[in-house]
């Protein structure tokens, strides 16, 4: 049997690659990483009409194939190294001219190409008439009009791709003319490349020559490694061409190349391919919406309102399912309480497993609602507007408007996760802005911190929950920005990267897209909860249970119980109460003597400054494993501290009734949880994305010291003012 065909999907961001990819592969997808770099690699399987399977690879969306961004390098390396049988170039028909810029580059590279002319519906609505046959004839590439969203034309496209994939295509690079001067220089360079056989097994000589003229860092490095002599020659020729163009034309070869590519595209489109029924400046619905949503006065107000609305939506609508889940886990606990014999196993199941998992899963609805809201903003195109409106501010702090994505994914709109947030920094091109973003995204209120914040606000700021959460989110932003600026002025000093960006048209998100989005993220959270959290919950249970009371103390408690029973009580209830109090003291004493208790106690000396007692300390240490563990640990710590009927009492009531807790302590704790060391998964990701463990260590050390200072400040000032 033949090896299956591989089709790669290439195109500009927002051209519809993912939509087509989902339509082709359905659920048969696999998301991984390209080796060595952290760009997502999506691949899947599609069954062709003749019953054979083919591989579909969704390449990162790019506008060019330069070496300036990891995405572009990944895309072009994939093309030349893995040599897909066919490259399906998704082109946005409503934005043909700009989209063809990548097409030309793909053609210059020489890949076997087919153009999927997507968004034909949008083009039609906008009065853009395209003649696909004419375009195909002029470019010498098959062109298939499709509507990826809706599935029109996809079977045609695949039939065409299948046909193309079957004749073992020889790569035939397109030769665009770049004007007399550059053309003759390119010819000379090609000759050198051919003579030295420089990288010709991977690239066409002309493409290499062009990349030398464009100052392409990756190709120059590769060239120098392969043949120093040829590389020196070519670099010299490129430098000469640059000098010549600067002197005679006042321009650079790379500029001329780009201009000529567009010139080529314009000439193709003018030959009867494209006709507009309307003035190109005509305002479309998108522009009318933008006149309001990015209006200088209304824009920011609406933005704040939208973000605040998202909170209200999330908190209000998730209340009911959260209550159901809480009830469910309470019921499970009662069930285990009644069914299991007393002993360590019962304690493990109730305090370690049910409470631990319940504490985390109870918040799934909240997180799902939040992710759904974010997906709406993201898929509708509104987030790009947020970046546009925010860049001025971000730029001031040494960041980039697109940093906003990473912050929002991390929980800038509360409920994200720093792990994908850290991944989202991949879209940032400058290393410095990227690192500054990487190191500060974990300050945002991720979904794991939410349970902690939600619990404490519910208990201590009842009725003002949405407002407090909103203010905490603003605080997270402020802290992240200031710390980023500090980084950009010290360890990450340097100039900023371009903000040349597209504002995609507003689109109604599809329910399917939203659900896939929401589900992927929620599932990620649940998986984390189900595995890491469960394991840690159990470890922590063990830490809080062992070594247990020394025999002598145990005997003392037994004696106390004995003597209580021999006393006279007015009623059975009174006796039960007395016994309960003894049990609680015993359990508390046992926790104090446990490993966790010892750690918590030993830290208490310092942590008292922020109002944290040893129980809180245990929870915070546990929180390094994952922030949501703070809650389950606190839950375990408290439910272990009390036995009997109160065991099912929720943590919220426990905290509300505990005199050691007050709003000031709650606030200090929330602020500490927000800003101290990111969970170890995030630290690992930061280290990996930044390429060095020292950045991970910096995030841990700096954040913890910083958070503690903030917590102490809040606690001391708050108590001084008598707000406790």
């Amino acid at each position: 049997m033949k090896t299956p065909l591989t089709f790669a999907l290439a195109g500009n961001p927002n051209a519809g690659k993912t939509t087509l990819f989902n339509a082709l592969t359905g659920a048969r997808q696999h998301v991984g990483n390209y080796p060595g770099v952290t760009v997502e690699r999506k691949s899947g399987i599609h069954t062709l009409p003749d019953g054979t399977n083919c591989n579909i690879v969704d390449l990162p969306g790019t506008y060019s194939l330069t070496a300036y961004s990891i995405e572009e390098v990944v895309a072009r390396d994939f093309l030349v190294q893995e040599r897909p049988d066919v490259v399906i170039n998704i082109v946005d028909a409503s934005n043909l001219e700009r989209n063809l810029y990548l097409t030309i580059q793909l053609m210059e590279l020489g890949v076997p190409l087919i153009i999927a002319l997507n968004m034909m519906d949008v083009a039609h609505d906008r009065g853009i008439e395209i003649d696909p046959e004419r375009l195909s004839a002029l470019l010498g590439v098959p062109v298939v009009p499709i509507v990826a969203r809706g599935g029109r034309g996809i079977s045609n496209l695949m039939a065409e791709a299948h046909r193309l994939g079957q004749d073992t295509a020889v790569w035939r690079p397109l030769r665009v003319s770049y004007g007399e001067d550059l053309d003759s220089m390119l010819l000379q360079m090609e000759k050198v490349i051919e003579e030295h056989d420089l990288l010709t097994d991977t690239y066409s000589p002309r493409w290499l020559a062009m990349k030398y003229l464009e100052n392409d860092s990756q190709i120059r490095e590769k060239g120098a490694r392969t043949s120093r002599q040829a590389a020196t020659l070519l670099e010299g020729m490129a430098a000469e061409a640059t000098r010549h163009h600067q002197v005679t034309l006042g321009t650079l070869p790379e500029a001329l190349i780009a201009d000529q590519r567009y010139g080529f595209i314009k000439s193709v489109l003018r030959q009867g391919v494209l006709s507009l029924r309307h003035d190109p400046d005509r305002l479309y619905t998108t522009d009318r919406i933008d006149q309001v949503l990015t209006n200088r006065l209304l824009g920011p107000v609406i933005m704040l309102a939208i973000l605040f609305g998202l909170y209200t939506f999330t908190f209000t609508y998730s209340e009911l399912p959260v209550a159901w889940l809480e009830g469910f886990f309470g019921w499970m606990g009662d069930l285990a309480e009644a069914a299991l014999p007393d002993g360590p196993l019962k304690s493990l199941i109730i305090s370690g497993i049910i409470d631990g998992v319940g504490g985390v899963l109870g918040f799934v609805p909240l997180i799902m609602f939040m992710f759904f809201g974010i997906a709406v903003l993201e898929d509708s195109g509104y987030l790009a507007r947020v970046a546009f409106m925010m860049d001025r501010v971000f730029h001031t702090f040494g960041l980039h408007g697109s940093s906003v994505m990473a912050y929002i994914v991390s929980g800038g709109i509360a409920g994200g996760c720093a792990v994908p947030g850290v991944m989202a920094t991949r879209t940032l091109k400058s290393r410095r802005e990227r690192l500054a973003t990487l190191l500060t995204v974990s300050f945002m209120n991720c979904g794991a911190k939410l349970p902690v914040l939600a619990l404490l606000t519910a208990v201590f700021f009842a009725g003002r929950q949405a407002m407090v959460m909103f203010l905490l989110t603003l605080l997270a932003w402020a802290v992240a920005m200031v710390v980023a600026k500090i980084y950009r002025l010290t360890v990450l000093k340097g100039p900023s990267t371009p903000f040349v960006m597209e504002l995609p048209p507003y689109r109604f998100p599809t329910l399917r897209g939203l659900l896939i989005h929401t589900w992927e993220r929620t599932w990620h959270y649940i998986k984390k909860a189900g595995t890491v959290i469960l394991a840690i919950s159990v470890i922590l249970w063990a830490m809080m249970t062992y070594p247990g009371l020394p025999d002598q103390e145990e005997a003392e408690f037994a004696a106390q119980r004995e003597s209580a029973r021999s006393e006279y009580f007015a009623s059975e209830d009174e006796l039960a109460q007395r016994l309960g109090a003894i049990d609680r003291r015993e359990a508390e004493r046992s926790l104090e003597l446990s490993l966790a208790g010892r750690i918590g106690r030993s830290l208490e000396g310092i942590s008292r400054l922020a109002g944290f007692d040893w129980r809180t300390n245990i929870a915070l240490v546990g929180g390094f494993a994952a922030k949501e563990v703070v809650i389950s640990t606190l839950g375990t710590a408290y439910s272990l501290g009390e036995v009997g009927p109160e065991a099912s009492e929720s943590l919220a009531t426990t905290l509300a009734n505990d005199p050691a807790w007050n709003p000031v302590k709650a606030l200090a704790m929330m602020v500490f949880v927000m800003f101290y060391a990111p969970c170890f998964v995030t630290v690992v990701c930061i280290a990996r994305e930044a390429g060095s463990w020292k950045w991970g260590a910096l995030a841990m050390g700096f954040n913890t010291v910083f958070a503690f200072a903030m917590a102490v400040l809040i606690y001391q000032v708050g108590m001084f003012l008598g707000l406790g």
């Binding site: 060019s64 700009r98 100052n215 933008d290 860049d391 040349v500």
Partner: protein, 81 residues
Amino acid sequence: MARVVLRRMAKNQRGVIAVVKVGGELGQRIREMGLVPGTRITVQGRAPLNDPVALRVMGGTLTLRNNEADYIEVEIQEEQR
């Protein structure tokens, strides 16, 4: 016809790009989006804090910062609507 730096263009003003005076990554990013000599642009508006600027180019909307717009010179087209 007057030639001005893009930064100085007012909202709704139209023009044709005359020259892009920058190379390297910024030059590449500007050009790959279609901001090359001969391209017609209209200033669509500015962000609330006056920066970045949004342009209407080839039926789509692009944004760039003012200090990036400084490298782009535009031949202004007189109003002819």
